[in-house]
Symmetry: none
Subunit: 231 residues, 4 copies
């Protein structure tokens, strides 16, 4: 502003010494991507509230202003983050081998995939927790949400129907319930591992503890669909 007297001393900004990346400006794609990835990391670690714009921009080696340039505001960024983590999950899930002729194997593979995915992607868990704390106000803006889910559920539906046709699964189990069961068992272990560790007096981070849990989940789900495991 023209007449405004600038009095504040120039604060030493850490983000000031951003590498110029050669002599030219960073490409738009690069900037947007690095901001988005940084946002996923920061929101995962600090939550939506604690993940400040400044933390994100400096983690992205960019500037606060760029977040507004590409995402409008913090909410817009969080919506983009939500979309991205769902997209990644779906992309990974699509690679799981589902075979109508082998419902038991398929079910086992999808269980393993989900339990491990939550375990290997703690950002997915904490970001969804943030979104739930905010009562799903951002996911409501994602038109792709239901699209993503339908594929996730239909995987279970296909497996269940194959197994039921083959007579190895019970008839009275819903795909949605089964999906939620697997998700819950994988999610909870990851989401609540700190309070559980304190509560149970046992470190849940240990890899053999986790692998034992995965076996238990497998057993529980197969029991629930009525499949008799051989010993």
């Amino acid at each position: 502003m023209a007449q405004a007297i600038k009095t504040k001393p120039t604060p030493i900004k850490k983000s000031a010494n951003v590498k110029p990346l050669g002599t030219r400006a960073r490409s738009a794609q690069l900037t947007r991507d690095s901001v988005l990835k940084a946002a996923i990391r920061v929101f995962a670690k600090y939550g939506l509230n604690g993940g400040s714009i400044e933390k994100i921009s400096s983690a992205a080696k960019s500037h606060d202003r760029m977040i507004y340039y590409y995402f409008g505001n913090k909410e817009g960024l969080f919506v983009a983050v939500l979309e991205e983590i769902y997209r990644r999950f779906n992309e990974a899930e699509a690679k799981v081998n589902i075979d109508a002729k082998d419902p038991v194997g398929s079910l086992k593979r999808i269980i393993t995939f989900i339990v491990y995915y939550y375990h290997d992607h703690p950002e997915f868990v904490t970001i969804l927790n943030s979104e739930n704390l905010h009562r799903g106000k951002h996911i409501a803006k994602l038109q792709l949400a239901t699209e993503y889910s339908s594929t996730a559920i239909s995987v279970f539906r296909n497996i269940l129907e194959s197994g039921q046709a083959q007579g190895v699964f019970r008839q009275d189990v819903l795909a949605r319930d089964l999906y939620m069961m697997v998700a819950a068992l994988g999610y909870f272990y990851q989401s609540n591992r700190y309070t559980l560790s304190a509560f149970l007096g046992e470190k849940l981070d240990a890899s053999d503890t986790f692998e034992a849990w995965e076996k238990f989940v497998m057993h529980a789900v197969l029991s629930t669909v009525g499949y008799k495991e051989e010993v």
Copy 2:
């Protein structure tokens, strides 16, 4: 300058109208309690980061300063909150009728209790989520944590052992896994109900949807322990 008489300056406090409570000051216990209850409500709604001292003190119809008086700082308050919600949970759980002669009935009752408790106490769920976001740093300060857990787990252990002795339950199921399974299934439904609702395109708030879920959980757990339900 024609400045003249000035009335007492009125600082703008959003909390405002603290009741004078007759002629004597509010008792210490009363203040502490109302702050603690307000903190539970506010942390549950906004998380640890979003639940500001000011929101809490005004919700308690008290003053910021009182929080420091009784709890030292925000962290101390959150530790007290954690302790209180665990205490309440344990208190409620202690009332569940556990009978060594009726392991199946006892298991059913504890399942119902847990699933409904999470459902009826969303603050328990969101506050634990906050604590896990902060990597369990507050629960570590609670010496009572393991004490609480041991009773929770031992309930399952007792039930399991009774059932195993009677030959109605499998031998290879751990009490800890069973506890975690029930907790996960009850917790996840409540914790993730907003993202799940968007994802599944189905409101999980509906009471019949929840009741159906509780039935499913019952079936899943009984199947997992190897109990054959009559149709």
Copy 3:
């Protein structure tokens, strides 16, 4: 990382949808004009400080960068705005019928013109207020300023001299004072209408209230020049 193909990043611009205008670029003059007009509107509504570059460029359906291209910076744009509103005023004033043989009629016409002009051009009033808040620093850069004024004042001088020669006006009234009187009475009504409305408890927007004011101004000015109105 499963990051995959990314579509072109879409920076969030509130201005947005600039029409492509067929196959060729918008002509330079057109862009400059629409920016200038938008600036008048925006500065009129928000003041110099509140009228941001972004508000103006989006109101002009153009881009921030164009403002710098055509006007150098915000100050240059404001100088151009000042010039334009003075030019418009002068252009309109030049159409008022001034007749040396009819000083009373001419005076009445110029009074009506000025009072109505301020009323019908609130942007003129608010922009001049902004310029005065900034102590006339922009108008100083306008060489045409005094040129404009000389015509405005000379209109009054001519009328006064004619009337004085005819013996219907007093000899001791200065053209400059008369000009300022008319301007003040027209300007103040428009400039301060919001505080006046609150202060007087009477809406000054009403057209009959304004018309009564114009009549009063007419009477006041004619009285001041010593003209005896017939009843």
Copy 4:
């Protein structure tokens, strides 16, 4: 916040070296007053938009935070400023000697008072301009506004009625119009003095120019009420 890592270097704040005023904190009254007075100065100089919280707090040798403590937010501060400048005006006006037996003298005194008040209190003028730029949204919150005005107008009403009863003033002049006329002539000279100076090529700051204007206003108003001045 507990877990938030503070990375930003501590900026050197000019307001940091605030004099401690002895060993004890400043009294509330003192702080509130000095903020209010600083706000009047700063808003007068830079307008509502340009008058930043930081400019005001440092001019008051206080802290940003204190403005929120005492006035809630910037708007609340501006409302208090409006109230204060109106109060001062009314307080000063109440001291003008109004005598029913001497309507002409009373009118002259009130004209002189008003014209000089605007001249001597440029902050009154610029702050009202700011309020009008914002369409009177703050004054609407002042319940005392109409109360202030009624006294201002009633002064004119009393004078007019006395003069009319004595037969020295015309019957057809409204108190409101007369008030607005005097206000307009005094206000405009002050409010628009920068653009007028550039426009007329004549410094309106000169004290003899102002005094001549005050004489002209006197003549114009007396002519308008139909009073025949002796030469």
